[in-house]
């Protein structure tokens, strides 16, 4: 994430030295995630919701479902739209205003994981072909920023979707009528997103805010339930060698099960 805080070079050296000995400021190992707490269904008014605490980073996701028009070039599919808000209360560096490049990137990376893994079968969300479909709004709300918003948001989004209920309906004369009762939104895949930060040529997972402030670059990898990669995003002003990319991919492969259990349950 681009921040306006200029990290002291001393801090960077300290963090880098620790990392070269396989340790981090908070005592974690290089591939350890911070303590993760997940609560689903926290917002009753939303069709689905979840709150995630990843260390001190806190993200809430609400899912709302509406009936709307499909895209003209995909007339028989439902619509998924992911938006992220870096609300000012989450960090002294977040300013009020329209979504900036960081919140847009966050939303689009989370979206890519869900969309490319086909976690939601959008084809089943068509109500009146070409005219009416379900529109699924996934709104990511960052409540406290202490590093690694992407992974926290992705976990919360998946949990919220798993928690989402679609209202029952009936289509009569091209009109959609809501009937009593709900069905669970069918979720076909469980994409898990893991993010690495590179600090002086070492890769660490789940960077804290301090680590993000001194990192050269980050690499986010999304892996779906069968072990295939469905999204990837390099961020930050540094670079990776292809060896580092493949190392990260293999480490990610080994890590996603652990995180998937948190969301989907043992």
């Amino acid at each position: 994430m681009t921040t306006s805080v200029i990290a002291a070079r001393v801090k960077q050296k300290q963090i880098a030295q620790l990392i070269s000995r396989g340790k981090r400021l908070d005592g974690r190992g290089l591939t350890d995630y911070r303590e993760t707490q997940l609560e689903a269904g926290v917002i009753e008014r939303a069709e689905g919701s979840a709150r995630v605490r990843l260390g001190k980073t806190e993200v809430m996701v609400g899912v709302k479902i509406e009936v709307g028009e499909p895209f003209t070039d995909i007339p028989n599919e439902g619509v998924l739209t992911v938006n992220a808000e870096l609300v000012p209360l989450a960090s002294p560096t977040f300013e009020p205003g329209p979504p900036d490049e960081n919140s847009i990137e966050l939303a689009r990376v989370v979206d890519r994981g869900i969309r490319e893994s086909k976690a939601i079968d959008l084809g089943k969300l068509c109500l009146v072909p070409g005219k009416k479909v379900f529109v699924i709004f996934v709104d990511v709300y960052v409540l406290n920023y202490d590093g690694n918003l992407i992974d926290a948001s992705a976990i919360a989004s998946l949990a919220a979707l798993l928690n989402t209920k679609l209202f029952n309906y009936e289509v009569e004369d091209g009109e959609v009528k809501i009937k009593p009762g709900y069905t669970q939104l069918p979720i076909k895949n469980h994409p898990i997103t893991v993010t690495f930060a590179k600090i002086k040529d070492k890769l660490i997972m789940d960077p804290s805010l301090e680590e993000e402030q001194v990192m050269d670059a980050r690499l986010t990898i999304t892996i779906e339930k069968d072990g295939k990669i469905c999204a990837m995003q390099k961020g930050g002003q540094g670079h990776f060698t292809i060896q580092q990319v493949m190392d990260a991919v293999r480490t990610a492969q080994g890590k996603v099960e652990e995180l998937r259990k948190i969301v989907v349950g043992g």
Partner: protein, 246 residues
Amino acid sequence: MPRKKIEKLINKNGVRIDGRKLDELRPMKIEVGVLGNADGSAYIQQGKTKVLAAVYGPHEVHPRHLALPDRAVLRCRYHMAPFSVEERKSPAPSRREMEISKVIREALDPAVFVEYYPRTSVDIFTEVLQADGGTRCASLTAASLALADAGIPMRDLVVACAAGKVEGLLVLDLSDPEDKVGEADVPVAFMANLNAITLLQMDGMLTIDEFEQVVNLALQGCKQIYALQKEALKSKYVVVKEEVKE
């Protein structure tokens, strides 16, 4: 205009609809120094994709509070012209354009000696005039040339190329129909000297082995385009053969 239904993108002989082999780049045309006002500029045509890049700077930053005390800031705007796509696109910047602007800027930053010009900004503008897939890669490649054309010192040229999977086969440099229908698209930007990947994105589905193959395929494409970049930069200047007397 209604979308044409394409039957098959790659035939049984491994030939793509535009006649290319699986690992073949589209024909490219590169020109450097095409705009009069910009400090540096470049134009690239890659198949039917046409992009223009311009660089202004380094110059004082406005607004002043955006300046950094120890380095230049890079600002980048990737934008698509309304007429560049099949269905007219609104000129207002879309979320996709904003994300691409960010990743292009982050891909170029490692190449520029930003520490030489504190408190200044280098502004990079890319315009997609016609889009047929690979626009962010072509824009990055053109932006890198525009930076060199502006005389901004760089560690290396940055070159970008995408590879992916279409109809089960791994292919290089996807055109728009291939990207829309294909199983995966992986754009990669590379700086050869530092062995550095500065842009890497992926959407679709690939096994880990496929992913490694696709990235290597993209890097092959990058190496080929890198040679074309150098040629384009040099062809602006007359090559010196004889001794110059002062």
